[in-house]
Amino acid sequence: MSSLDQALWVLLLGSLLGLELIGKVPPTLHTPLMSGANAISGITVLASITLIAEADGSPPLLLLGAVSLGFALFNVIGGFLVTDRMLAMFSRKKSGAGS
């Protein structure tokens, strides 16, 4: 893995940034924001892909990698789409026409 001290710097700064990025959130956005952040946390796909690509043909690694990739992508794809669906409902441009 990359050198530890580098990783810790990045960890610290990333956390501080995360703390700052979200300031005041109107209650209406709590659920979509939670859902969007959740989709982002599916970034573990990167770990799964790395695992597969560096598996050197080892079957258990390939299998576990693919399964974890499936789980992570489920999180990512589902998360972003569902967030978009929610946010689409909030858009003001929505026509007022009845059902």
């Binding site: 990359s2 990783a7 979200i22 209650p27 979509p32 939670m34 599916g42 970034i43 399964v67």
Partner: protein, 480 residues
């Protein structure tokens, strides 16, 4: 550094930048939707950059395709099919799967990766397994509770649960320490860790009431960020570490913000046990149960319909009960009748009405209620004095006047919808039962208030029928 490395590296930096912008944008109404797209784009970039850097072998490509097809398709279908009202459950499910992914990556490396591992890597594996497992099992339990599949067992409300959870936490600790300390990974401590932390996730979540679930899910979401960051340490990806840390920290803040909006503290959510779990109500001495009220006027849907027919300004106050009764479409129906009848109709949206933030917006949007008619609390409160009829639909705490006047009330200090200022108030609910906070509501006893007992959907349908039978339906054609 080869050209490809430099390229991949630039993509990584760009992806973090876009992710940060996405997270930031998601917290503002105007930009939220495009920010979500931005974050998705960043994710796509990151994956593409990684694939370019790693140049997977054909076999690897095959397995990647397999995983992608499986997870991607399922995600797509789930996202499209799930009803809007089941959002918290859905987010919990997704979140649990993210945790599972981190758990599996760490397991795979610990069990099958031949290379010798350093202390740092082993610690990362322990954290990844621990947090991943808790996130997974906790999220699944949260989902089950929200769906009503899982109840709140009695023992989780006694102090037994503290003993159980502490034992599980200690077991995880032991497993983790042994795993981290031994240079060759041993299966024993690993499985102990997996098992104990999975159970711990269940144990902690099981004791929390369904109404507090959004907070718990947000917290677990923060955890899954931490798990991702730990997985980043395991596979050595800067980008993963940054993104994971960012989401973890942002999730923590969001959890805090949500707690504040609901007048709860995070500690009391996590350790306080279930609060107002459905009908348990009345935990505050004296108030709450039906015997507590002295002067209640109840009326029929017919009388209510008559008042509505002549009202010029009608405000609906939707609450948790409306969501439970799935009555949003019936409500929209009634509103259309009234509008055709010449009334001015709007909806008063309290920020924490319902059981998840934005619950009412989502619910009413699903029933195609025009966005302009959803009025935020601060805007509509001054309007109540010139409102003829207020119909409170399955809402309770958010219209409780004690929050303003009674310092001893648990709600005291929470801003509420001041419906008591209106000329006439109808409260539609099934009984005199309490709401989430489990306390009595002084509104029900006011002279201008009348209760309309019944299921929200049934009452709304009755109202529509009454109005139509009085000829309001026919005027629609004339007005149009």
């Amino acid at each position: 550094m080869s050209a490809i490395d430099v390229f991949g590296y630039g993509i990584d930096l760009l992806a973090v930048l876009l992710l940060a912008l996405g997270l930031k944008g998601l917290s503002k109404v105007r930009s939220a939707r495009s920010a979500n797209g931005l974050a998705a784009l960043a994710m796509g970039l990151a994956v593409a950059g990684l694939l370019i850097q790693l140049q997977p072998s054909p076999t690897a490509w095959l397995w990647i395709a397999l995983g992608t097809a499986g997870g991607g398709l399922l995600g797509l279908l789930t996202a499209q099919r799930v009803p809007m009202t089941a959002m918290p459950e859905t987010v919990a499910l997704f979140n649990g799967c993210g945790g599972m992914a981190s758990l599996l990556v760490a397991l795979a490396v610990a069990l099958f990766d031949p290379g010798d591992s350093g202390l740092v890597e082993r610690i990362s594996i322990v954290i990844s397994v621990f947090v991943g497992a808790i996130t997974f099992s906790g999220s699944i339990v949260a989902m089950g509770k929200l769906q009503g599949w899982i109840g709140t067992p009695g023992w989780t409300q006694s102090s037994v649960r503290h003993a159980v959870n502490i034992t599980l936490a200690l077991a995880s600790l032991v497993g983790g320490v042994f795993l981290a300390a031994s240079p060759v990974s041993e299966a024993g401590p690993l499985w102990l860790l997996v098992l104990a932390s999975t159970l711990l996730g269940i144990g902690v979540t099981l004791s929390i009431g369904g109404a507090d679930m959004p907070v718990v899910i947000s917290l677990l979401n923060s955890y899954s960020g931490v798990a991702a960051a730990a997985a980043g340490f395991v596979v050595g990806s800067q980008l993963l570490i940054v993104a994971g840390a960012m989401v973890g920290a942002a999730g923590l803040i969001l959890t805090q913000v949500m707690c504040t909006a609901m007048n709860r503290s995070l500690l009391s959510v996590l350790f306080g046990g279930a609060l107002g779990a459905g009908s348990s109500g009345g935990h505050v001495g004296g108030g709450g149960d039906e015997a507590g009220y002295s002067r209640i006027v109840s009326c029929s849907a017919e009388e209510c319909a008559m008042a509505l027919e002549t009202a010029e300004r009608v405000v609906f106050v939707p609450g948790y009960g409306l969501a439970v009764a799935q009555a949003q479409h019936a409500l929209r129906e009634l509103a259309k009748l009234l509008e055709a009848n010449g009334s001015e109709v709007s909806y008063a949206i309290h920020p924490v009405a319902g059981r998840m933030p934005g619950h009412m917006n989502v619910l009413l949007a699903e029933a195609d209620v025009p966005y302009e008619q959803l009025i935020e609390m601060d805007t509509i409160n001054p309007e109540f004095p010139r409102t003829d009829v207020v119909i409170v639909l399955g809402a309770n705490d958010v219209v409780n006047p004690d929050a303003k006047t009674d310092p001893s009330s648990p709600l005291y200090g929470m801003p509420v919808l001041e419906v008591d200022q209106a000329r006439q108030v109808f409260v539609v609910k099934r009984s005199l039962g309490a709401g989430y906070a489990g306390i009595a509501n002084a509104l029900f006893e006011l002279p201008q208030t009348a209760m309309v007992f019944g299921d929200a959907k049934a009452v709304l349908q009755q109202l529509c029928t009454e109005l139509r039978s009085q000829g309001v339906g026919s005027k629609v054609a004339v007005a149009a």
